[in-house]
Amino acid sequence: MASRTDFGPPNYKEMLPPVIEKNYGQWLYHERVKPGVLKHVAESGDELYTVRVGSSRLVSTDWIRDVCAIADEFCGGHLRFTSRHNLEFLVSDPAKVEPLIAHLKANGFAVGGTGHAISNPVHTQGWIHCHTPATDASGIVKAVMDDLYEYFVDMKLPAYCRISLACCLNMCGAVHCSDVAILGIHRKPPHINHDIVRAKCEIPNVIAACPTGAIRPDPKNKTLTVNEEKCMYCGNCYTMCPGMPVADPVGDGVSIWVGGKISSARTPPKFSRLVIPFLPNNPPRWPEVTDAVRNIVETWASHAHKHERMGEWIDRIGWERFFTLANIPFSVQLIDDFTLASDTYRSTPTFKW
């Protein structure tokens, strides 16, 4: 029998707690009661408390069952997730808010991620599940957030700070518009195993997969060659052909980008810009990366005005000042020479030393 298809996701209306069903679209205002706790008040006067906790994104069914049990006990079995992998308990009885928080803290949950805080980093699969990563995702996020935990559970920063991680330049996470983006990069073209290529790969398909046209057939030897100057290390050829792995323990590592934002508040969305071209993969705790991120966050936090996002602060002081304040060496990799590069060159003799 053919399976049922094309019936779509569960209807959200069946998932909403009664207080939301009743006040849907009728919310009047909200308050940040304290870190991790939001209070929304509806026109009817009804109140909804949200208690937000961080998750590791990669979670077991056991964990899901645990949080379901908590939701049953404190909020009638209602919960939601955010676009940044946080979990939210939706509480309509104010008397249950403090017991819920106490229960969560006692069981090791990280309550926070609201307001002028560092929220949960959006990230991708890394060595857990993808075939082209230049670094791990979950491990760096864990190490960075252990280090910056105080900024998740408190609201002591000048403005929002969003950290994201993508494990290769395909960038399957929303990192390019983040206050701090951690991006895995390869620095070496694929090393070709010609025997595997001959045995297992459809050479025309591999050639067609290369976005930069770097791959040429080598009909005489029934294999192919890579024009290394054209290769941008995207790994598409490896997707098509197991004889062309792009990962390399020395070539692979992490780059750091700063100053992006998504919201249109005050200033339009901005892209993150490269400030550290390469840091080595140093598992399990990537100390070079955690130090670099902490330095950038704290340099911003100690110099920015209130409500000033990382990129807005840098626009005010200038990139040249950013590099001196953060004590980050400038290098040629930071100067764009890709599409639209000259847009980033300076055309005025007004700058700072």
Binding site: A2, S3, R4, T5, F7, G8, P9, Y12, M15, W27, Y29, H40, S55, S56, R57, L58, V59, S60, I64, R65, C68, A69, A71, H78, L79, R80, S83, F109, V122, W127, I128, H129, C130, H131, G139, A143, D146, F152, N170, M171, A174, H176, A208, P211, T239, P242, I262, S263, S264, R266, T267, P269, F271, N281, P283, P284, K306, H307, T339, L340
Partner: protein, 397 residues
């Protein structure tokens, strides 16, 4: 904490320490029950030693009737880690706004415990529930059981990817459109496009209720629908006075940061005024004073297109093509516009050419003409700075 000498995974064990929730602990919990999770943990330890990944692509896998929704994955060390010889991912379409009841989630856990590794991502970066790790033979039975409890697959490959939206009217007073209902309606409307890849490349739709853009639609989607309003910000003078008496410095933190300089503050009279005609609706003042200021009443959305990641010719943020449109069920105007644009893209797009790249290649002029939209100044940041306009003979009369 396991003793380092007995442990198979001394490096990963270090990631069980520290205050942030540990994904290693999660893998270990599933590893008590499934060989797949056990070998995932061992293979990851190997990656932490080798400093490279150990996965390969290896042929398309899926379920009957669908062209997407499953990502095939195989270890490159099957002898060493047989539990992950086939470790495919199912992308499962989440309910709008990621709202759940505990009963629904437990049903999902039951299905996944029966067929897979027990590991998930809540959620993946596109918004789907990611069920991480099942062998090929388990895919169809798993999907059949998912269908039984009302969960369908999301998108992958050259199709419409699972659309997503912000929490909107479910909990946010800033929402100018019903993001949840619009999302659900669009997802049901485009089931074929979601499940059967037939486009030049992937196509994404994301919906945010206001310019705060909590799902990053402008940065991450070919079609970005962002709520906004056309009339005046609603001011509650009593609450303004309350803010003035709190530790908020209205002049410094609100008025001086208004990008259009359209606000003024009289501290003596505690009177805040906004020249709404000059406001560009950036949300800053409303974000800072949510009790005193509310979005207007004449609500709708700005429709933007073309956002994409850098690969291959550089990244793009979406561009405004309809500055304001009403957003009301059954959302025909939006659905028609999406269809018209897909048609043009499908006809003209090269393999792996995203909508934004095609507009760049053929020109905004050709795009606007093809989808029949009038040029308006809200579309641009500035007019052109070169005289190289190629006149259409029609225009020279």
């Amino acid at each position: 904490m396991p003793n380092a000498q007995d442990s198979d995974t001394p490096l990963l064990d270090q990631l069980e320490e520290g205050p942030w929730p540990s994904f290693v602990t999660e893998i270990k919990r599933s590893a008590e029950k499934t060989e797949a999770a056990k070998d995932l943990l061992r293979q990851l330890e190997r990656s932490y030693n080798d400093r490279i990944g150990h996965w390969k692509h290896g042929g398309i896998v899926g379920v009957k009737g669908y062209g997407g929704g499953v990502i095939g994955r195989y270890t490159d060390l099957p002898e060493e880690f047989p539990g992950v010889a086939e470790f495919h991912t199912l992308r499962v379409n989440m309910p709008a706004g990621w709202f759940y009841t505990s009963d629904k989630l437990r049903q999902l856990c039951d299905v996944w415990d029966k067929h897979g590794s027990g590991l998930t991502n809540m959620h993946g970066a596109t918004g789907d529930i990611i069920l991480l790790g099942a062998p090929t033979a388990a895919l169809q039975p798993c999907f059949d059981d998912l269908a039984e409890i009302g969960f369908d697959l999301g998108g992958s490959g050259s199709d419409m990817r699972t659309p997503s939206c912000c929490v909107g009217p479910g909990r946010c007073e800033f929402a100018c459109i019903d993001t949840l209902d619009l999302l659900h309606s669009i997802t049901l409307e485009f089931q074929d496009e979601l499940h059967r890849p037939m486009f030049p490349y992937k196509s994404k739709i994301k919906i945010s209720g206001c310019p705060n853009d909590c799902v990053a639609s402008v940065a991450r989607s070919d079609f970005s629908i962002v709520g906004t309003w056309r009339d005046n910000i609603r001011i509650n003078p009593d609450e303004v006075a309350n803010y003035a008496n709190s530790d908020l410095d209205i002049q410094a933190e609100v008025v001086n940061l208004c990008p259009t300089h359209c606000m003024s503050w009289d501290p003596a009279a505690k009177n805040l005024t906004i020249d709404d005609a000059e406001c560009n609706r950036c949300m800053h003042c409303i974000n800072v004073m949510p009790k005193a200021l509310r979005v207007g009443k004449e609500k709708g959305a700005t429709f933007l297109v073309g956002g994409k990641a850098p690969i291959v010719h550089g990244a793009l943020l979406s561009w405004v093509i309809v500055p304001f449109m009403k957003v009301e069920p059954p959302y025909d105007e939006i659905k028609d516009l999406v269809r018209r644009i897909w048609e043009w893209w499908d006809e003209n797009g090269r393999m792996r050419e995203r909508l934004g790249e095609l507009i760049n290649r053929l020109g905004m002029r050709a795009f606007l003409k093809a989808v029949d939209l009038p040029p308006v100044p809200q579309m641009i940041r500035a007019p052109r700075a070169n005289p190289y306009y190629f006149w259409d003979p029609e225009e020279v009369k």
